[in-house]
């Protein structure tokens, strides 16, 4: 059992919530992991709570879906604003209230949420969707300096050994990745490629997309005002002890996922023609030539993408 002191530490520091979103410091993560390993009942309790938190996030995502739908209906532009709703909720409410609110929401008949998190496997619906991008001979656009690359292609597809049962359990948690609106999942045959891009701010990508069928170009601005909406985690290994970051996101345009990007703030890795599967703990990216697993949970595992089974 956890001591009063330990529970106080968890509540006061918002440990549970920050754990879900990969925002614990190394020290906090180590202490938290120690508690999980020591106390199986706490592990169970934590998993239940993380499911609820994920449900809260999902509600935010449903709001986001609505906004995406509206944005995409607007022919004048493709400005996709991802809301801060979920994180604000997370920051302003104490954990217990959040849990209570989530329980009410769940019991109150949130069938969609229920199905998402209790009746489905860990994969996100969009995960199975293949990106329709005109591919280049080399599918993965990774940086030159291999020693610094955080994302390492897995050509051999060997199995990454799992170190502990708690880690195994953590990978079975509900997913928190974004899902596109239903109308975006409709069949559509237009193909796009990214012609150029820049990241003027950490959470903003401006990309010029080319419709390869119609030969038209469109400037697309994707604003990730709240990077946690797309799963952001801090990492230290990539280039700096202070400001290493890992963001992953996909460029969604019309009904297509164009590309999957993984950004560690030093390099932006671009995965074209890929399948994306996201869970709370990892990001699975499969291209034609290689598979990647980007672990989203522990800083220790962010050195490189882990080989996928």
């Amino acid at each position: 059992m956890l001591t009063v002191e330990e529970r106080k530490w968890i509540e006061e520091n918002d440990i549970l919530d920050r754990y879900v979103f990969g925002r614990l410091t190394e020290e906090e993560a180590a202490r938290f992991q120690f508690l999980l390993d020591r106390d199986p009942s706490f592990l169970e309790e934590m998993e239940f709570n993380t499911a609820i938190i994920a449900a809260i996030r999902q509600k935010g995502r449903l709001d986001m879906k609505q906004r995406l739908q509206e944005a995409l209906k607007d022919e004048s532009g493709m400005e996709l604003h991802v809301s801060q709703h979920t994180s604000e909720t997370r920051r302003t409410l104490p954990l217990i209230l959040k849990i209570a609110a989530a329980l009410i929401a769940l019991v109150g008949g949130s069938v969609i949420t229920y199905q998402l998190f209790f009746n489905k496997p860990v994969e996100v619906p969009l995960a199975e969707k293949e990106i329709n991008v005109k591919s280049t001979p080399e599918q993965t656009d990774t940086p030159k300096e291999e020693k610094k690359q955080p994302i390492v292609p897995d050509q051999s597809k060997k199995v990454a050994a799992k170190k502990s049962t708690s880690k195994q359990k953590s990978e079975e948690k509900p997913m928190i990745a974004a899902t596109p609106p239903e109308n975006l999942m409709q069949k559509h045959n237009q193909k796009f490629r990214v012609e150029s891009y820049m990241m003027p701010k950490p959470n903003e990508v401006k990309a010029t997309l080319v419709n390869t069928d119609l030969k038209t170009e469109q400037e697309t601005i994707i604003l990730f005002k709240n990077p946690t909406d797309l799963v952001a985690v801090n990492i230290k290994e990539t280039h700096s002890e202070d400001n290493g970051k890992l963001l992953w996101f996909f460029v969604l345009y019309d009904n297509q996922i164009l590309n999957v990007y993984v950004d560690n703030s030093k390099y932006l890795a671009l995965f074209k023609n890929a399948k994306l599967t996201a869970s709370a703990s990892s990001l699975h990216i499969e291209t034609k030539d290689a598979s990647y697993v980007v672990d989203l949970k522990s800083a220790d595992k962010f050195r490189k993408a882990v080989i996928k089974p």
Partner: protein, 204 residues
């Protein structure tokens, strides 16, 4: 600064050419040396070409202005710094001498990308950035000098500090030709470059 729209040209002639075994920019490339070919290609689009070299005596046969590195650190950032520092132009197309099939038709597209909020335009191939085939504003000198003070010599880090417009190679290849980023570092690649160049000229 003289002309903001038509850039200056900077060719970086550093590098030890270890794998080539001789200065690659002095290798004959059809009727010219490689450096002459790059100058001629750049001059189709830029106002003036300057050369950054620590061995100017090897280039006495060329009338172009030659400047040495300002810092004694052998890296691409040093060459970029020296080029921008000695340029008279606001915008500068910076080119390394290991791209023998460089095609200046890409330059106007790069210039189009520059605006108030974008002062760097660099291509990105499947292998990564090509920072020494890009367009840089002279305004970036301040940030580059800061990097030297911080002893950070990684040119890629410049793109973290100053928002850079990254242009996918596909786009540039569509404007120019598919081998525009062919990199030449070995005798075999030198041979291949000549074959490709001949084939491209024949085709055109």
């Amino acid at each position: 600064m003289k002309n903001i729209k038509k850039p200056g040209g900077i060719i970086l002639l550093g590098g030890k050419s270890k794998r080539m075994g001789t200065d690659k920019y002095l290798l004959p490339f059809f009727n010219l040396t490689l450096v002459e070919r790059l100058i001629a290609e750049l001059e189709k689009t830029v106002q003036e070409v300057i050369l950054i070299t620590n061995e100017p005596q090897k280039l006495n046969f060329l009338p172009h202005k030659k400047y040495p590195d300002h810092y004694a650190i052998p890296c691409a950032l040093t060459g970029l710094h020296a080029g921008l520092k000695n340029s008279n132009y606001e915008l500068n197309f910076v080119l390394a001498c290991d791209l023998p099939l460089f095609d200046s038709r890409m330059i106007p597209y790069f210039v189009e990308q520059i605006n108030e909020s974008v002062s760097i335009a660099v291509p990105k191939t499947a292998k990564g950035f090509e920072p020494l085939c890009g367009l840089y504003s002279r305004n970036n000198l301040v940030e580059i000098e800061k990097m030297f003070v911080e002893e950070n010599y990684a040119i890629h880090d410049l793109f973290d500090r100053i928002p850079a417009k990254v242009i996918m190679a596909e786009k540039i290849e569509a404007i120019t030709h598919p081998y525009v980023f062919f990199n030449m570092n070995t005798p075999a690649e030198y041979e291949e470059a000549q074959k490709l160049y001949a084939a491209l000229n024949k085709k055109s």
